[in-house]
């Protein structure tokens, strides 16, 4: 897993691959067709990128950013004013 921890899986079915979405979907449908409730870790993507990764936010929490880091200041504003004259 991304933080170095490990999952030890002992598969009870050789026709199921927990890293394959296709296999997981098939396994799920097979269980349903047989009237069973499939349990356990059905699918995992170990390379998962979360929302923060996708939108490229800074690694520091946004709620910890100071005014100095957030407020561009009057000089930048005057430059924007100039663009609108």
């Amino acid at each position: 897993m991304h933080d170095g921890s490990k999952i030890y899986l002992n598969k009870l079915n050789k026709d199921w691959d927990p890293f394959s979405r296709f296999s997981a979907v098939n396994r799920l449908y097979k269980a349903k067709a047989e009237g069973d409730i499939l349990t356990g870790l059905i699918y995992i993507d170990e390379k998962s990128r979360d929302l923060h990764d996708m939108i490229c936010t800074i690694k520091k929490p946004l709620n910890s950013l100071t005014e100095k880091e957030l407020c561009p200041g009057n000089a930048a504003l005057e430059s924007i004013n100039q663009d609108h004259r």
């Binding site: 921890s5 490990k6 002992n10 069973d36 409730i37 356990g40 979360d50 929490p61």
Partner: protein, 259 residues
């Protein structure tokens, strides 16, 4: 029955690496029905957090409305909690996560909250791969409002009223797989040996980790004919595999560096 928890505890209660006993991970006494599956899940959450050496105040407990959404009061008293409006927990959790990526987000919801009014928000939280452990306490009915069938009730399943549900069930795991979810699991409130490692793995996962936990409602949906009763689930459960979780040993692990 008393609702006051004793403050005294055995002096030799085991402690985790933070020096906390399990008591530091508990909440107030449950006011759910005796035998409710949700209480077992709460206990599994307490156990998982204790064993994972998580700092309780670094967890944010997010829930919606329903019996399931009451459970965050029953674990992690030192964590902030947010009971949002019905079905809208994923959006609040998204905003909270955007504000602080360093907390651990634990979303607790039910099948009414997630598979009906909350269906849209659940779908998009999965789509965005929000970093959250999302546990659905799934009993096939609306316990808090006296037992109506929910959208996860199987076609043909009979609840306490004796009337069979006509409509197809929403399979949250099937839906999650289809939506590209990166961690999909199902468990049963009566099987802690499976549930606890799943919760731990979900909390370590970077992204949306869905655990659909069948959690029988002893009051409204535990009768013969229900496909979400204790008896039915025990008879029809099929595990994909046995499963064990081992946390990363080094101190640089995410949960150990929480401030």
């Amino acid at each position: 029955m008393t609702y006051i928890k004793p403050k005294f505890h055995h002096p030799e209660l085991p402690t985790n690496r933070l020096g906390y006993t399990k008591k530091e991970y508990e909440g107030v006494i449950s006011t759910l029905c005796a035998g409710c599956g949700h209480d077992s899940i709460s206990a599994a959450i307490v156990q998982s957090c204790f064993e994972m050496n998580i700092e309780p105040h670094k967890v944010a407990k997010m829930s919606g409305i329903g019996c399931s959404s009451k459970t965050p009061a029953y674990f992690l008293s030192n964590s902030h909690g947010f009971n949002s409006v019905h079905g809208r927990m994923p959006s609040v959790a998204t905003g909270a996560n955007l504000a602080n990526c360093d907390l651990l987000y634990l979303g607790v919801s039910g099948d009414g909250d997630s598979a009906s009014i909350g269906m849209g928000q659940l779908v998009h939280a999965i789509r965005r791969n929000l970093n959250i452990t999302y546990i659905v306490m799934n009993n096939g009915c609306y316990g808090l409002t006296k037992g109506q069938d929910s959208a996860t009730a199987d076609a043909g399943s009979i609840n306490k009223t004796g009337i069979a549900n006509e409509f197809n069930a929403i399979d949250l795991c099937g839906l999650a797989l289809e939506l590209g979810a990166t961690f999909v699991a199902r468990s049963f409130s009566g099987d802690k040996s499976q549930l606890i490692p799943l919760i731990k793995a979900a909390m370590s996962h970077k992204g949306f980790a869905l655990i659909d936990v069948v959690s029988p409602c002893v009051t409204f949906n535990n009768n013969t004919g229900s496909t979400k009763s204790y008896d039915y689930v025990r008879e029809h459960m099929e595990a994909v595999g046995t499963f064990d979780y081992a946390p990363y040993e080094k101190k640089s692990q995410l949960i150990m560096t929480a401030k």
